[in-house]
């Protein structure tokens, strides 16, 4: 049968939507860009600001590779419209190291060999930064539960939990 998607059902708008200017603070830098309403924060970061450390994994909020911090909280940037984050403060993996020194989580992931292919790693680290800021995870079980939004298909989970425990203790 024919595709019955929404695009075929709804009468499309008569005029093309206009691009919208937005201002974001990304890793401490003031950024101004103009995006279409349907541009996700993930695409804005990668395609407009050339910050490709944030990864597009599933693009459906199921893998966590796109995790960034918005106003201090971890979110899935693939399900976030950039226009809805006007004025927000964004931290990506590129913004965690300071003055040439790795963030404690980055160092812990190296110390514990907490990745194999590395594709999920920037999302894992940003998510872990959010987890430490939340202060809700005390035990390894709680870290596992509150990190469940980040999938690692290489299965580096035991080392990821160990790395987060190390960074948490030193934070």
């Amino acid at each position: 049968m024919a595709r019955s998607g929404a695009a075929n059902r709804v009468t499309r708008m008569a005029t093309a939507p206009e691009k919208i200017p937005i201002r974001l603070t990304v890793n401490g830098n003031h950024m101004e860009l103009t995006v279409a309403p349907w541009t996700t924060l993930l695409d804005a970061l990668r395609d407009h600001l050339d910050l490709t450390g944030t990864k597009k994994g599933c693009d459906h909020g199921q893998c966590g590779a796109c995790t960034v911090l918005v106003d201090g909280r971890r979110i899935n940037s693939c399900l976030t419209l950039a226009v809805m984050k006007q004025g927000a403060e964004i931290i990506t993996i590129e913004g965690l190291a300071h003055d040439g020194e790795l963030h404690p989580l980055q160092q812990a992931f190296i110390d514990h060999d907490a990745f194999q292919c590395g594709y999920c790693t920037s999302g894992q680290i940003c998510s872990a930064a959010g987890l430490i800021a939340e202060g809700k995870a005390k035990t390894a079980d709680e870290i596992r539960e509150l990190m469940s939004g980040n999938i690692c298909r290489c299965g580096a989970y035991p080392n990821i939990v160990a790395a987060i425990q190390q960074a948490k203790e030193r934070s």
């Binding site: 009468t11 309403p37 349907w38 979110i75 399900l79 987890l131 079980d141 509150l146 980040n150």
Partner: protein
């Protein structure tokens, strides 16, 4: 993604005005479900009206002794709010058993009620689905229906409602506050979501030009004897195959009041007055729990792949009532079911 226009609503009145002028517009709050549906071409709004900045973010005690939760309160904030953790821990546990922390940070309280089913065929635009395309047929009834409903189904639709939060809100008998062109009104939680019947495209009794402004919890929180047990294919970050919210008020080991709601088995959180009445005056033992389970699952029907849900739900109900009676609610991080 397909193109749409974007506008921000300044206040609730402005949001109502904006949606009235454009029948193919949609509100967006957390966006965790709607953006995904747009990416899959299941939803195709001409315009998104951003309500995420509306001042509906407070959690406050009411003069009636309950709590009023603003529709824009993020799921995480609600789950960790001291009033909710202390007085309505069932709600807190249910919220934290759903999705991931990233999604809970994004998702709003009102939006959680309005999320759509995760039935595979609803998402697959190459297949018929009465919810997505009324009159096209249901692919799940004779299809891969392992995740689908066993209660309250119709020939048109066997989809389930995916929320965990709503299962707890049903058990707690919350009230939904909505506003529209005709003014404000309240809807009892049991009347908010609909069974599929012949109109599976309508999930709720919220009118298209109305907006959820708040959820009200009644005074009774069952904070001593409650449990939320969620059974799923992974230990975390998966939708429920079956979930149970149980809340008891006890006098010694005699049941004075009981609330019981199921998730993952129907088009709405599933309750039964007969099941709850069957527990009144009973001792907290497995025989009484089994009787209540049979009442709650009365009329349950499998569609092949999901037949297992009937037995699974029965055992989960008995187990959850036991946890509630003992005052040892299911932990979200220690996955052992005791």
């Amino acid at each position: 993604m397909i193109p749409f226009q974007y506008a921000r609503a300044n206040d609730v009145a402005d949001a109502i005005k904006q949606i009235a002028t454009d029948p193919s517009a949609k509100f967006i709050a957390g966006g965790t479900n709607l953006i995904d549906l747009i990416k899959y071409d299941v939803e195709g709004p001409s315009r998104l009206i951003d309500i995420s900045h509306l001042p509906l973010r407070s959690v406050e005690p009411t003069s009636a002794g309950g709590v009023l939760i603003g529709a824009m309160v993020p799921n995480t904030d609600l789950a960790y709010h001291p009033l909710i953790e202390q007085r309505y821990p069932l709600l807190s546990r249910a919220i934290l058993s759903g999705a991931s922390q990233q999604l809970r940070n994004m998702a709003s309280t009102g939006g959680n009620l309005l999320q759509r089913t995760r039935c595979f065929y609803y998402y697959d635009t190459a297949t018929p689905c009465n919810k997505r395309e009324p009159g096209s047929g249901c692919s799940a009834i004779d299809g891969v229906n392992r995740i689908n409903a066993i209660l309250g189904t119709s020939e048109a639709c066997i989809a389930t409602h995916p929320s965990d939060m709503c299962v707890a809100l049903a058990a707690l008998e919350a009230t939904v506050h909505v506003a529209g062109p005709a003014g404000a009104r309240t809807i009892a939680f049991a009347d908010f979501h609909r069974l599929p019947g012949n109109t599976p495209q309508r999930d709720t009794n919220l009118e298209p030009d109305e907006i959820i402004t708040a959820i009200e919890l009644p005074p009774k929180g069952f904070s001593a004897n409650y449990s939320y047990l969620k059974i799923r294919d992974r230990l975390s970050y998966a939708f429920a195959l079956v979930s149970v919210a149980a809340a008891l008020e006890l006098d010694g080991d005699t049941i004075k009041e009981a609330r019981l709601a199921l998730g993952g088995v129907a088009h709405k959180p599933w309750r039964s007055t007969a099941a709850e009445a069957a527990l009144l005056g009973q001792r907290t033992d497995a025989a009484a729990f089994a009787k209540a389970a049979d009442w709650l699952l009365h009329g349950a029907k499998g569609y092949g792949h999901n037949n297992f849900k009937i037995g699974l739900a029965r055992r989960a109900i008995i187990r959850t009532l036991g946890q509630a009676a003992r005052g040892t609610p299911q932990s979200n991080s220690d996955k052992k079911i005791r």
